[in-house]
């Protein structure tokens, strides 16, 4: 081995050893990201002699990472519309007043496509975090949110997300993650409360089957469905697991048929959900009651025809809920899409409302101040009144929708329902 090679090896060893240390020197040299959030306020007496004049940016930049392509594209399109409509509406109303600059500033949405890939979500969020965004807005689907929230926490930048029901993410101790959306316990509870609330005893689908994808959210919601089923007087007669992206569901469908499943509960991605119900149609079997969380959120579910008819889903919102602000948003949606606002559009719209309100109350674009203002939110939005719990979730009634005749009917809660539950749906 030559001297030069030896020198290179020694340098490598030295670097590896330095890198494996506890990194205190590193913290000193690269802590600028954290420092910028804490040094916004002038320190000491200097503030009394000359008040620093903060130069206003041309806009308030919001970083949004949304699946425009890939498995979650149908849901991502709804999220994108919700963000865009809300930004348009707020800017048309004069923007967001920021006391620090003494002016109102327009919102600017820096929206990126993560192609439904959680690994792209993290790398895009890293890139956005290196810029001047005030907050992150999330995409669609729990895997993408699960990947993104840790990045937000590391960057100490507020993160708001809907279309994610995973509860365990709120049990990590994160400070910057807020999600005004029904979580798995809400989904599981409302499923059986609705059944018992709308169907008389003797007509209920007591034999429950679960198709569970092998993901963290799949495990979480399936376990809650099992426990809620038992406590509400139902029997889980089938619990089948499958890997996301599977293409042949014939086996588990036939097992469900053999087990005489009357209520089939599942939480597939849109492509998986379409495959399951298409194959159920081909096999000529459909239970009297079907709940398809997530996959049936997308409008193209109607393309399944009779196989998808009568399926229920939980998307957190429906325009018939009648909260202030829904009407103009709904009109905008009809103008662009030719139909009332899709369920996820409302939740996404509300996130921008919450963020704009928090920035105004914070009076600054400082991440920590905006985060504190979001945590203290107490306002009316298009999805209803919002206050956050300590863990970033909200107390919310989970509305349940049903795909009927090519449209979406709100069936639960009963007092807001636009139609009676179509049951049996087979």
């Amino acid at each position: 081995m030559s001297k030069r090679t030896l020198l290179v090896l020694l340098a490598v060893v030295a670097m590896v050893l330095a890198a494996c240390g506890d990194g205190e020197e590193g913290a000193d040299t690269t802590g600028a990201g954290a420092a910028t959030t804490t040094t916004a306020e002038p320190v000491g007496e200097t503030t009394t002699t000359a008040e620093p004049v903060a130069e206003a940016p041309s806009s308030i930049v919001i970083g949004a990472v949304v699946p425009i392509t890939g498995a979650f594209a149908g849901g991502g399109a709804q999220v994108e519309r919700g963000y865009r409509y809300a930004v348009e509406a707020i800017n048309e109303a004069g923007g967001v007043a920021v006391e620090e600059f003494g002016v109102s500033l327009p919102l600017e949405l820096d929206l990126r496509d993560d192609a439904s890939d959680p690994n792209q979500t993290t790398s895009i969020m890293e890139e956005l975090g290196g810029g001047d965004i005030v907050a992150y807005l999330g995409g669609f689907g729990s895997p993408l949110h699960a990947a993104g929230t840790a990045i937000a926490e590391r960057n100490a930048i507020p993160y708001l997300g809907v279309a994610t029901a995973i509860q365990s993410l709120h049990e990590q101790g994160y400070r910057y993650y807020f999600s005004p959306f029904p979580k798995s316990p809400d989904v599981a509870l409302s499923t059986f409360e609705m059944l018992n609330g709308l169907l008389p005893e003797g007509e209920r689908p007591l034999r429950v089957g679960i198709f569970q994808e092998t993901t963290d959210w799949g495990e979480e919601l399936a376990a809650l469905w099992v426990s809620e089923a038992e406590s509400h007087g139902y029997e889980v007669v089938l619990h089948e697991e499958y890997a996301p992206g599977a293409t042949d569901f014939t086996d588990i469908i036939l097992r469900a048929q053999t087990a005489d499943v009357q209520a089939l509960l599942s939480l597939p991605t849109p492509p998986d959900g379409f495959a399951i119900y298409q194959q159920m149609g081909e096999l000529g079997w459909k239970p009297p009651f079907s709940m398809v969380v997530r996959a049936a959120d997308v409008p193209t579910w109607n393309d399944l025809g009779p196989a998808g008819e009568g399926v229920l889903f939980s998307a957190g919102w429906h325009p018939a809920l009648g909260f202030p602000g829904i009407e103009p948003m709904n009109e905008r949606h009809i103008e662009e899409e030719g139909r009332p606002a899709d369920p996820i559009v409302g939740g996404a719209y509300a996130l921008v409302q919450i963020l704009a309100d928090a920035i105004e109350r914070a009076g600054t674009l400082d991440h920590e101040a905006v985060r504190d203002a979001i945590a203290a939110t107490d306002m009316m939005t298009v999805v209803g009144p919002i206050t956050f719990r300590e863990d970033g979730t909200v107390p919310i009634t989970n509305p349940l929708m049903q795909r009927v005749g090519g449209g979406v009917e709100l069936v639960w809660p009963a007092e807001s329902a636009t139609a009676e539950l179509l049951y049996p749906a087979n």
Partner: protein, 317 residues
């Protein structure tokens, strides 16, 4: 020259705290290390493995489990390399009896099977604990990734100039002739397989240390295999510095295209790749040669060889 590149990279890590630059640099170093490891098997020994991600993923999995479980990171890395090497030795004996396309298909099947299995067995996301997230800095992962990438270069040089590497290349060029000359094809292919897997595990270990949040199946994705192969071909297969140049070209090019061309970046990058391969079958290293001349195929190797007055091991595939 190599020391100059290393010096610039070290200086970059000291002077910048730009998150984007650090992220791009770390990704480049990890991919370069992975590509270098594949190059030992594919470039030196001529075995086109399409299941290399399995070893990268195994390295990441063992490291992450042990490290987040409370073990020191260096110990976790060492364990990951040992476990991966043992697995590679066990898998390699039957796998390397396949030849050419059959070996490639066999390794592809292995990689996909492992990817799907891990996805089913470990479905939950792996995120750093909250306390670690709040203390996270890029400096540690940066120098670790740089160190690991730098480590693969002298290992490749040592292999390429030594008896073992020459044996691998002899097997690559003609197994029958090599065998008749007393060079055991299976032994040399197996050594390449095991060393390559252990270095891939080392790269995976850095990935596990650097990544804040990912699904455990992700490092097992076939994407890692194909990116490593792309990088090797872009840089120059069978050369020691090719994977490094190819990796920098690939990652920086991808970021640049993604920023400026949005959804067309995949198509544009594909076209760019085809052009490079068509015009420069020896990769960018060959481009360097055409522009700057010289007889050596690898600028770094050339520098080393000039020092020793030897010319062995210089070739492009």
């Amino acid at each position: 020259m190599w020391l100059s590149i290393l010096g610039v990279a070290v200086a970059l890590g000291v002077v910048t705290d730009d998150q984007r630059i650090m992220t791009i640099a770390i990704q480049t170093y990890i991919l370069a290390a992975l590509a270098s490891s594949w190059n030992i098997l594919g470039g030196f020994a001529g075995q086109i493995s399409l299941g290399h991600a399995a070893f990268f993923g195994l390295g990441a999995l063992v490291t992450r489990e042990m490290w987040l479980g409370g073990q020191p990171f260096p110990l976790s890395t060492l364990a990951a390399m040992v476990v991966t090497a043992v697995v590679a030795a066990i898998v390699g004996v039957p796998m390397l009896r396949f030849r050419d396309a059959y070996f490639s298909i066999g390794t592809l099947a292995l990689g996909v099977a492992v990817f799907l299995t891990i996805g089913n067995v470990r479905p939950g996301i792996s995120s750093l604990p909250v306390d670690a997230l709040r203390e996270y800095e890029f400096t540690g992962p940066y120098f670790l990734a740089l160190g690991v990438m730098a480590f693969t270069v002298p290992v490749s040089m040592w292999l390429k100039q030594g008896k073992l590497g020459l044996g691998m290349m002899a097997v690559r060029d003609d197994e029958e002739v090599a065998g008749a000359s007393g060079v055991s094809p299976l032994r040399h292919k197996l050594m390449a397989f095991v060393i390559s897997a252990a270095l891939a595990a080392l790269a995976g270990s850095v990935f596990a240390y650097f990544s804040i949040s990912y699904y455990p199946s992700f490092p097992f994705s076939v994407v890692w295999t194909f990116e490593a192969i792309l990088v090797v071909f872009i840089g120059g297969i069978g050369t020691t510095v090719g994977p490094l140049i190819g990796s920098a070209f690939f990652i920086v090019g991808r970021y640049a295209l993604a920023s400026n061309t949005e959804e067309f970046q995949v198509v544009l990058f594909g076209l760019l790749f085809i052009i490079v391969v068509l015009l420069l079958p020896g990769g960018l290293v060959e481009g360097w040669q055409r522009i700057f001349g010289g007889s050596a195929s690898d600028v770094v190797t050339r520098a080393m060889e000039t020092k020793t007055g030897e010319t062995k091991g210089k070739e492009l595939v």
